[in-house]
Amino acid sequence: MDARTSTTAEATNHREAIISVHDIVVGFGDRVILNHLDLDVYRGEILGFVGTSGGGKSVLTRTILGLVPKQSGTVEVFGQNLDDLSERERSALERRWGVLFQQGALFSSLTVKQNIQFPLRENLHLSQRLLDEIAYTKIEMVGLKYDVAEKLPSELSGGMIKRAALARSLALDPEILFLDEPTSGLDPIGAGEFDELIRTLQQTLGLTVFMVTHDLDSLHTVCDRIAALADGKVIAQGTIEDMMAQQHPWLRAYFHGTRARAVQSGRR
């Protein structure tokens, strides 16, 4: 299968679902968080995933990644049902996705360079020279300076941690990138730059991006499509214009609230 079908337009025409979540139920104790949820993510798109805080966005992401057990339903990635895979097939598949966790989750005792090289060392047999070149390339791709390479995560700022963690999640050139609130905790300019970066990387590497976000700016500037979560279900999906036209009270509050209007007027 060709990993790198390019532009968004092309992909939307094909409408090949690269992630397909069907009828998922997830709960903790007797609290149901995701209630028969369905969602498709298409190859080559950037999908923005919005929803109330504590609504289960991270839980859905973690369910797709297999970090949270589901009570029923299926998750298909690259057309393969994750429950049917053997151990080996599964780890092969896991190499084809990259994850940027909410807090970065860099290994605190390794330098940034070692963090990026970690998945490479485990999975490929590369010369030290190539390992270093790859690490520096990824560092440059995410817009960091080379001298962060030898720094420990505790010596970086919040924005730099996000970028370094992004570099690590891109280490193996994944086809799908999961981002959990990538711009939260960044200043608006930093957040804007990060959005820009995601867009550039998506085009350069032909990525499919699943982005959990709260950032109205991101939704306007980088997301091809938006899906909204409420009451454990995807209540609406479509382009930003589709979302603005929705009547659901939460969506109206979200896309037409004061902050939304500020973003809107800034855009005109």
């Binding site: 060709d2 990993a3 790198r4 079908t5 390019s6 290994f107 605190s108 005792s109 330098t111 999975n123 490929l124 047999h125 590369l126 010369s127 190539l130 270093d132 070149e133 790859i134 520096y136 390339t137 990824k138 440059e140 791709m141 300076k145 080379y146 001298d147 390479a149 030898e150 420990l152 995560p153 505790s154 010596e155 891109l170 193996l172 050139d173 085009q203 350069t204 590497l205 032909g206």
Partner: protein, 375 residues
């Protein structure tokens, strides 16, 4: 996959035609690197180069990076390679690679050589001692403030700690001190029997356990069990900026975190020492009975004669001091944890090692002191 020939070269009159083939992706990156380096090495000074990528099926950053390396090796000799057949979808990636790698990588992080580390650690010993003294001062001051304003004392926190370091430690303390009592008695009887002095085992065990071993074993156990827990707790709070959060809310971390823990240990350790000593004597008594034929009433009789209140007091007096030492070392190490998981591990180890070391040194100093005052 045709990875045997990711690159094939055709050379005519010093003009090269380099054809890429197959998957130029991470899986084949090691072979591609060899092929690239071989090609660049074998044909170091061509007159002209044409690189044909039309048969490259897939490419990712790894392939693009190595392609860039190949191109640059010829550019370095003044030949500008012509590229053709590049699939449009990889154009952005290749262009991106062309712009990269202009910066100088920073020097590698230095690892200290053995001698250097030895030197640093020697210097650190002095700094450690100063920090410890400083912290003792801070703890005493915080306790003083609590005494002045008893209502600010975190009673619940202390009771919680008392439960964790005191009550829950009881079973393991009883078990270990019991076993040690048994071993002492067995060894004593075995060796004293040769001189027909079996009965002196009671004197030996009584004095040894009450004066020295009871408190020492319990202190070492608690340093390993509770000291390490204190360090790990405070350390992870430091890592997640919880300690800073306390400070900016106007709380003194020493008062909030350290004082309840310290007091809990100071209360718990004497109690545990008492329990441990009794359990040791019980073990010794049972072994004397079963292995040495010394009946319990003889054992008790002999014990009454062999020890007096002084022996017992010597052990008990030491307990709170050892508790304070363990608590202070553990909390200090916890509050010195840096940002990484590794640092947490290092400080937890240091906490236990230093606490045990200081406990033993302290025991020696007490031995001299009690000898001097005839106790």
């Amino acid at each position: 996959m045709p990875h045997a020939s990711l690159i094939s070269v055709h050379s005519q009159d010093d003009r090269l035609t380099v054809a890429g083939r197959g998957a130029w992706t991470s899986e084949y990156a090691d072979e591609l690197e060899q092929a690239v380096d071989n090609t660049a090495h074998t044909y170091a000074h061509p007159k002209g180069v044409e690189i044909d990528l039309s048969a490259v099926e897939r490419m990712d950053t790894f392939g693009a990076l190595l392609f860039e390396r190949l191109k640059r090796s010829w550019k370095g000799t003044g030949v500008e390679p012509q590229v053709k057949g590049l699939a449009p979808r990889y154009k952005v990636l290749i262009e991106e690679m062309g712009r990269m790698g202009q910066e100088q990588p920073p020097p590698a992080r230095r690892h200290e050589a053995i001698l250097e580390r030895f030197g640093h650690e020697t210097v650190n010993v002095a700094a450690d001692a100063a920090a410890l003294l400083n912290f003792v001062g801070a703890s005493v001051a915080a306790m003083g403030r609590v005494l002045l304003r008893p209502r600010s004392f975190r009673f619940t926190a202390m009771v919680n700690q008392l439960d964790r370091v005191g009550l829950r430690a009881v079973p393991i303390i009883i078990l270990i001190t019991f076993l040690i009592g048994c071993i002492l008695a067995q060894q004593g009887i075995f060796n004293f029997r040769r001189f027909g002095a079996d009965i002196y085992v009671v004197d030996m065990v009584g004095v040894l356990v009450l004066r020295e071993l009871g408190v020492l074993i319990v202190a070492i156990m608690i340093a390993g069990r509770s000291g390490s827990a204190y360090t790990a707790e405070l350390g992870s709070m430091r890592m997640r900026e919880e300690v800073d959060a306390l400070r900016v809310m106007g709380f003194d971390p020493v008062e909030v975190l350290v004082v309840p823990r310290l007091l809990a240990l100071i209360i718990a350790l004497p109690l545990l020492t008492f329990i441990g000593s009794m359990s040791s004597l019980l073990g010794a008594g049972l072994v004397s009975w079963g292995y040495g034929g010394i009946t319990p009433d003889v054992f008790l009789d002999r014990l009454k004669g062999a020890i007096d209140m002084d022996q017992f007091n010597v052990g008990m007096i030491k307990a709170p001091f050892m508790a304070a030492t363990i608590g202070i070392v553990a909390c200090l190490e916890g509050l010195r944890v840096g940002g990484s998981a590794e640092s947490l591990g290092a400080h937890t180890t240091a906490s236990v090692v230093k606490a045990i070391f200081l406990v033993i040194v302290m025991d020696g100093v007490f031995a001299m002191f009690f000898a001097a005052i005839d106790m």
